[in-house]
């Protein structure tokens, strides 16, 4: 029998250290729904999502009750709408966005991702239709998330798309100005986007995926932080070892829930995503893991090294615990969704430049960062280009989810509520980059992309 100590250990992690499953995300292929009539494609999309995901929330709740482990989010990702909506054009894409929103609400999930275009090499008709309608789609819907992939290590960086996305982010923020520009919080610009990411706002169900799949995102920054409290003052060897052991346990729970959800829904298991995802709740912060390692605050010297160790040890511990690891699998450092990051940003010790450096060694990138509402579109584009360059050169995923908070300046606060949290508006460099962005074209793929 399991020992008393082991039971208490697990219960402590759940009750006091915020161990949970962050999300069960069902990926659904929508290619069957393609039709040139906007209303018809929207109707098909709605019906298909409801048919596939109708039991998702209920099954999630059952697993939660039986195993006693909280499953915070149940979500849906779909085939990029640039593919599904191409035949019906921009009007069709918007109709699909509305259908996705309605379906998500009716099946009870809290986000649906996939209002997506993949334009790393070029912008096709369907991509154009999605990108043009992102500001309106994110304004008129509540649960729909959008993403655009502008670069890959194989193709390089599509600077036309980068330039366009700066303007799209700004327009989205403007359209949702009355709600702290929340539209921009649901829009991610990627380099090297992955097809099986279960986390929002960047989840979509890639073209290489099965008809339907269950992907699970684990969590547990609080558990890692508490485990590290026991090795205070000890060497980094002990720190890495402790994180690995903890990540293994966390991931095993993810694997268990993924398998159980897959069996009960009769949908193939896709992947477990090993990301350490924080929430604004106390005791659920990635930044606090770094301070536990000995930093006075996240953002100070040493932050990048600490994050690199954390990110690597989480993978090493987690990879053996799951049969299929995928998604983004790394530590997240969203500013507005992490109590320690919020405090550091408010105190001015965490800057955009330091965050950029940190994104070179962890998953994703500049995430949930509020900047002044008057930040020029070219500056947003140049920030995207910098992140894309880090992703492309290092062969990793990077992303930008930046919110030019309309009517707000440095030091003001934005508040999105719930998991999206709140954040201080951060300073952005005023050095001009308009001529750089207006060049357009593509930044070629790096030499090391030629691996054949």
């Amino acid at each position: 029998m399991i020992s008393q100590h082991e039971v208490l250990d697990t219960l402590r992690m759940i009750e006091h250290e915020n161990l949970d499953i962050r999300t069960i995300t069902m990926g659904i292929t929508l290619t069957q729904c393609i039709h040139e009539d906007a209303d018809e494609v929207a109707r098909r999309v709605y019906d298909r999502i409801c048919a596939k995901a109708g039991r998702l929330v209920q099954v999630g709740r059952e697993i939660e009750a039986e195993y006693g482990i909280p499953i915070v989010n149940k979500r849906i990702s779909v085939t990029p709408i640039s593919i599904i909506g191409a035949a019906a054009g921009p009007k069709g894409c918007l109709a699909i966005a509305k259908a996705m929103d309605r379906a998500a609400r009716d099946v009870g999930v809290n986000f649906i991702g996939g209002y997506t275009a993949l334009v790393h090499k070029g912008i096709a008709y369907g991509d154009q239709a999605v990108i043009d309608t992102i500001p309106e789609a994110l304004d008129i819907t509540e649960l729909v998330c959008a993403s655009v992939n502008v670069a890959t290590t194989r193709a390089g960086i599509n600077m036309d798309a980068v330039a366009r996305m700066g303007r799209v982010i700004l327009e989205t923020a403007r359209r949702t100005a009355a709600r702290d520009s929340i539209g921009a919080a649901k829009l991610v610009v990627f380099a090297n986007a992955v097809e099986d990411n279960p986390f929002m706002a960047g989840a979509f169900h890639g073209a290489g995926e099965a008809d339907c799949a269950v992907n699970v995102g684990v969590s547990g920054p609080g558990v890692v932080k508490c485990a590290l409290e026991k090795v205070r003052g000890q060497s980094f060897d002990d720190v890495a070892e402790t994180i690995k052991r903890t990540a293994f346990r966390i991931t095993r729970v993810g694997q268990l829930v993924a398998r159980e959800a897959s069996r009960r829904l009769d949908v193939p298991f896709g992947i477990v995503d090993l990301s350490l995802a924080p929430t604004p709740a106390m005791g659920d912060s990635v930044a606090h893991i770094l301070t536990e390692m000995g930093l006075e605050s996240v953002g100070g010297p040493g932050s990048t090294a600490a994050l690199a160790l954390l990110n690597d040890a989480v993978k090493k511990g987690g990879v053996m615990a799951s049969s299929h690891v995928g998604g983004l699998s790394g530590a997240f450092i969203p500013v507005s969704e992490d109590a320690g990051m919020i405090d550091a940003a408010r105190a001015g010790v965490l800057t955009l430049e330091k965050l950029e450096a940190m994104t070179a060694v962890c998953s994703v990138g500049l995430d949930m960062i509020a900047v002044p509402g008057d930040t020029p579109a070219e500056t947003l584009s140049a920030i995207i280009a910098d992140e894309a360059a880090i992703g492309v050169i290092n062969g990793k995923t990077t992303a930008v989810r930046i919110i030019p908070a309309q009517g707000k300046g440095v030091g003001d606060e934005v508040s999105f509520g719930g998991l999206l949290g709140e954040a201080p508006v951060m300073r952005v460099s005023a050095v001009g980059c308009g001529d750089f962005i207006r060049r357009g074209g593509r930044i070629p793929a790096p030499l090391h992309s030629m691996r054949n």
């Binding site: 029998m1 399991i2 039971v7 219960l11 009750a65 195993y67 006693g68 268990l256």
Partner: protein, 90 residues
Amino acid sequence: MKNAIVSVVGQDKVGIIAAVSALLARHQVNILDIRQTVMQDYFTMMMQVDLSAISCSLQDLKDVLSRLGGEMGLVIGVYDEGLFNAMHRI
């Protein structure tokens, strides 16, 4: 057979094991193993139970147990054994 772990934690007093086992028996839950200790007046008990013949829903069992826990000043939880196996066994 579906096994679960019933955890009972709280201030020690007379009759905890009696009350919890009586309630489990009433709902046809078979007790396979019990581990129990008292540390500084703090009572902790783990029961491995078999739910295959349970006469109510799992949720009902959880509800009556947590009501009993409330009356006796205890925290009582029911968890599928698979959770602990996953975390602590390779």
